[in-house]
């Protein structure tokens, strides 16, 4: 299972401190998510594309990821022009396409894609482990960060456990269909996975206790921010302020 497709690389964005990237991503996303004007969102998309060239990621993977995420947007393109109240853009037989509907779908598409690009270039270029530690030093509640890191650790174990059971079912000629037998089987497969996870949680708890755990987690991290990181942060925050300026001037 390759979940963190974009986390490996040597680019400037891969090297930048995760906390810096987190703050940048949050501020850029915030402004673009809230903006209402085409100018702002296009500026956001431009910055997103610019970051993409800096990230030196495999563009084919990025393209497919964008296509996948855009499926909800496609749904909006099908529905909004037909259902959104407003002036008629054109009339095809009994169907009226709304001008405001098309405009809104276009605006949402630009905003959403700009934000996905921020996400891919600023966050997906770090591992989840780094992101978890980064969020912790940005004062996200410690328990929440621990749940993030431990869940991340065990997703792969649990996923494998589920897959071994599914494999056994398939070898016994299980063919998923739309019927109760299928749903019952999936329920049992998941139920058994849940039971195994429950038992594992108990064993891991014991392992922690045996290694002296007494209800406190200590952190090992001590990352330093470089000059390049600071410059990067300043540029990104300026971009976000710039977007806000464009939005307010309109």
């Amino acid at each position: 299972m390759t979940f963190e497709k974009f986390s490996q690389g040597e680019s400037l964005l891969h090297r930048t401190d995760t906390r810096v990237k987190l703050v940048s991503a949050i501020s850029l996303t915030l402004v673009i998510a809230l903006c209402q004007s085409f100018y702002t969102s296009l500026a956001g998309l431009t910055v997103g594309l610019l970051l993409l060239t800096f990230s030196r990621l495999n563009l084919r993977f990025v393209f497919w990821r964008l296509m996948l995420v855009n499926s909800f947007i496609a749904f909006l393109w099908i529905t909004l022009p037909l259902t959104y109240p407003g002036d008629a853009l054109c009339v095809v037989g009994p169907v009226t396409l709304s001008k405001q509907g098309v405009a809104l779908a276009a605006l949402i598409s630009i905003k959403a894609n700009a934000i996905i690009l921020f996400f891919i270039t600023l966050l997906a270029t770090s591992t989840v482990v780094d992101l978890g530690h980064g969020l912790e030093s940005l004062r996200l509640p410690k328990k929440l960060c621990l749940i993030l890191l431990f869940s991340y650790r065990y997703i792969f174990v649990v996923h494998q456990e589920y897959h071994r059971l599914l494999r056994a079912a398939k070898l016994r000629c299980f063919k998923p269909r739309t019927n109760l037998h299928t749903y019952r089987t999936y329920a049992y497969l998941f139920g058994m996975t849940l039971v195994k996870s429950w038992n594992r949680a108990e064993r891991v708890g014991q392992a922690m206790m045996l290694r002296g755990f007494h209800g406190r987690f200590y952190s090992l991290e001590e990352k330093t921010v470089t000059k390049v990181d600071v410059i990067f942060l300043i540029i990104m925050i300026s971009a976000a302020i710039g977007f806000a300026y464009i939005e307010l001037m309109k």
Partner: protein, 201 residues
């Protein structure tokens, strides 16, 4: 089941964010450090559920199981779902950061509701397996139903022009509700036989 970034209006985003922060703080307060690992591993298990695709006619839908999650984890559903959505955003760029509050609330609030409404009915103390099965079905069905309602309300309240889309969202969730009902029902019966303490929370 989540709304993309860039769709919702500012008041809705803020409202969802505030509610989720409230839910998270209650949830985290109920998890002491000794239970962090347990909640984490169960959160990963429910994340894996969202990767399970079950057939529905010619297509397939992935499991949500927020009803079952609520019955097992109670208020800890808030952090568990928040983390699952955050990981989905990190892994696949689904959802987003600003809309994370709304999306978490849409799924976690029905889970907590399910915990209070149906949790006692599926607990190992209930001796009648049929009543437990029924409660399991209801929990699975209604939690997805509530999530659909919350999601479409978020859309409709953001922009009245989204009203038709909001209706479609609820309609599209109808078959999912039925599947989730059955899967939750069978899983609850399974757990009651094999590991009743999971349903004890």
């Amino acid at each position: 089941m989540h709304i993309s970034e860039g769709v919702l209006s500012t008041p809705i985003l803020i409202g969802g964010g505030v509610l989720t922060v409230l839910g998270l703080s209650i949830g985290l307060k109920k998890i002491d450090y000794d239970r962090v690992m347990e909640v984490s591993i169960l959160a990963s298990t429910f994340f894996v559920a969202s990767l399970i695709h079950v057939p529905l006619g010619p297509g397939s839908v992935h499991l949500i199981l927020n009803g079952l999650l609520g019955m097992v984890l109670g208020w800890a559903s808030f952090p568990a779902i928040f983390i699952a959505l955050l990981l989905q955003a990190f892994f696949f760029q689904y959802g987003g950061l600003v809309v994370l509050g709304v999306n978490t609330f849409n799924m976690a609030a029905p889970a907590v509701l399910c915990f209070y409404l149906f949790g006692p009915l599926v607990s190992p103390l209930v001796k009648d397996p049929q009543r437990r099965a029924l409660a399991g079905f209801a929990g699975g069905f209604f939690s997805v139903f509530f999530s659909g309602i919350l999601m479409s309300s978020a859309l409709a309240l953001s922009d009245s022009g989204f009203f038709s889309i909001a209706q479609m969202v609820v309609a599209a969730h109808l078959p999912v509700m039925i599947i989730e009902g059955f899967i939750t029902m069978f899983t609850v019966s399974f757990l009651a036989k094999i590991k009743p303490e999971i349903l004890q929370s």
